[in-house]
Point group: C2
Chain length 307, copies 2
């Protein structure tokens, strides 16, 4: 948390009473000007990657602060959106996630579609955890990525937007640099164009806003997001890299942005040139004979005896 | 600090009572086998970069744990060495540094030469700090690097060895990656060959040993190094990057080594191909008209009025 503002602090933009401090930008804002700042950051991101208001956007919404803030700001900016929520089946946590999405959408009369992982994949996340020793955060990430891609096409959209913020993106980059993951580094971009019609464009419009800025925005906009962290994600390596970046940021404000923006400038994303083939089991596009989703399902089926 | 060893822990090498735990290597050692492990790590580094016992080595010694450990282990391994100490003029700290070198060398009858920064550059570090607003750690680094190079040639040696350990090298790499310092990244190697006869080969034989391993070695070898940290270095960015790496290492043991070794494998050092010219003031090799040492001296001379 940044230190509190002195009582006479002025808004950098309009000179009225400031209530929000952004130490990494050397700016203070009143509520209205902070909202303007937040909207402008998203608008610029959309413009930079050529996403206009004419393009309908499917918004992946988990019920957490980032995805609801994203959905909200896109509607404020006049984009046509539909929410897409996958209920993962992590007991009470997933029920509360779905409830947060439902409340948000009802309050704003926004359309959304809900799927459950059990229904589209065959197993929910608690079952997957029981049946596999592989790291659950990595399996969950794989499934969400693949299922969101497929459902975007199924729902008739070409662009999927997700709520990844600056902390997510910079933390992921740090991990990829530290472990020299060149395949992941090639995809380190807020905008991934589609390699063919069976995959959507993926875009992360919040990549210039950090977690604290998203929190401030949610609080000003009356967004009641789910505050609890996923009970399965304790000790996830992505959290640890974000923690290391927060340590650097506290001592050297601006480090996160310098890391991410500097990298993006120097390394434009280069999507794989390996040709896609249809998965021999499900027909979805894949680089191998069978896709990662079918491979995982087979792995889980084999391990059914463990239950 | 690693957690204490259980009382019945066995040495990984000889199965006697272990007293030293190396969690990042999944090994425990008795004192003798730890010394063997430490010597082997240095011996392998020497071999890998082709430094044989026939090559006399000038050892840069500050009086801290790393440089005294290095000098000690090189002598244990049968290398011919001479110590080179530059007294920086940081009040009591520098006096204690010189005293630590003197005591170490006397106890082991090792030859060494002492210079003072005041005598070779014209200003000691406290004067430099008073006369310049530039970051003192960065100026000190520049001067030590340049002066050690020049004194190595003056003393008739071709190879300068310094006590940089794994933490120093991995922390420096992390900082260079985060800030995209491509010129520094090109020189990220424990071994920098000489570009011409007026510059020595620079080598860091401890780059595979972390700070805690060096501390253990010093304690076993009865090395009384200066334990105090430099009073001018509080908040140095190099410390902050090392702290961030320690955070990652605690949660994911082995991260430091993966970062450094993985980088070195993928990016062999490529010394600059820009030709050197003699400095128009002092005649030392430089890329520009005047060398960085002469530039700094002129900067300090201009600021004399501030005193």
């Amino acid at each position: 948390m940044p230190p509190p503002l002195p009582p006479d602090a002025k808004c950098t933009r309009c000179r009225s009473q400031a209530t929000i401090r952004l130490p990494n930008h050397h700016m203070n804002f009143c509520p209205d000007c902070f909202t303007h700042f937040f909207q402008t950051a998203v608008h610029r991101a959309m413009k930079k990657y050529g996403i206009s208001r004419a393009t309908p956007l499917l918004v992946a919404v988990s019920g957490g602060k980032d995805s609801l803030a994203l959905w909200n700001v896109l509607n404020q900016l006049g984009h046509v959106t539909r929410g897409l929520h996958i209920s993962l089946g992590i007991d009470d946590f997933s029920e509360a996630s779905t409830a947060a999405v439902d409340r948000f959408a009802q309050e704003r009369s926004l359309p959304w579609t809900q799927y459950s992982l059990k229904e589209i994949f065959g197993y929910d996340l608690m079952e997957i955890k029981r049946r596999s020793r592989r790291r659950i955060c990595s399996l969950c990430g794989l499934l969400k990525r693949q299922m969101l891609n497929r459902l975007t096409i199924k729902e008739g959209f070409q662009v999927l937007v997700t709520g990844h913020n600056l902390d997510d993106e910079a933390g992921r980059l740090l991990g990829n640099l530290v472990y020299h993951r060149s395949e992941h580094l090639r995809k380190q971009s807020p905008f991934l164009p589609t390699p063919h019609g069976k995959m959507p464009i993926r875009f992360k419009p919040l990549y210039r806003l950090d977690a604290q800025e998203v929190r401030n925005y949610c609080s000003l906009q009356g967004i009641h997001s789910l505050e609890a962290a996923c009970p399965l994600s304790r000790g996830a390596t992505s959290h640890i890299f974000q923690e290391a970046l927060n340590l650097l940021e506290r001592e050297m404000p601006g480090t996160k942005r310098q890391l991410l923006y500097g990298y993006l400038e120097r390394h434009p994303a280069s999507p794989s040139t390996i040709p896609f083939v249809p998965c021999t089991i499900c027909g979805e596009p894949t680089y191998e004979d069978t896709c990662s989703v079918c491979n995982l399902r087979r792995h889980l089926e084999k391990n059914s005896a463990k239950e």
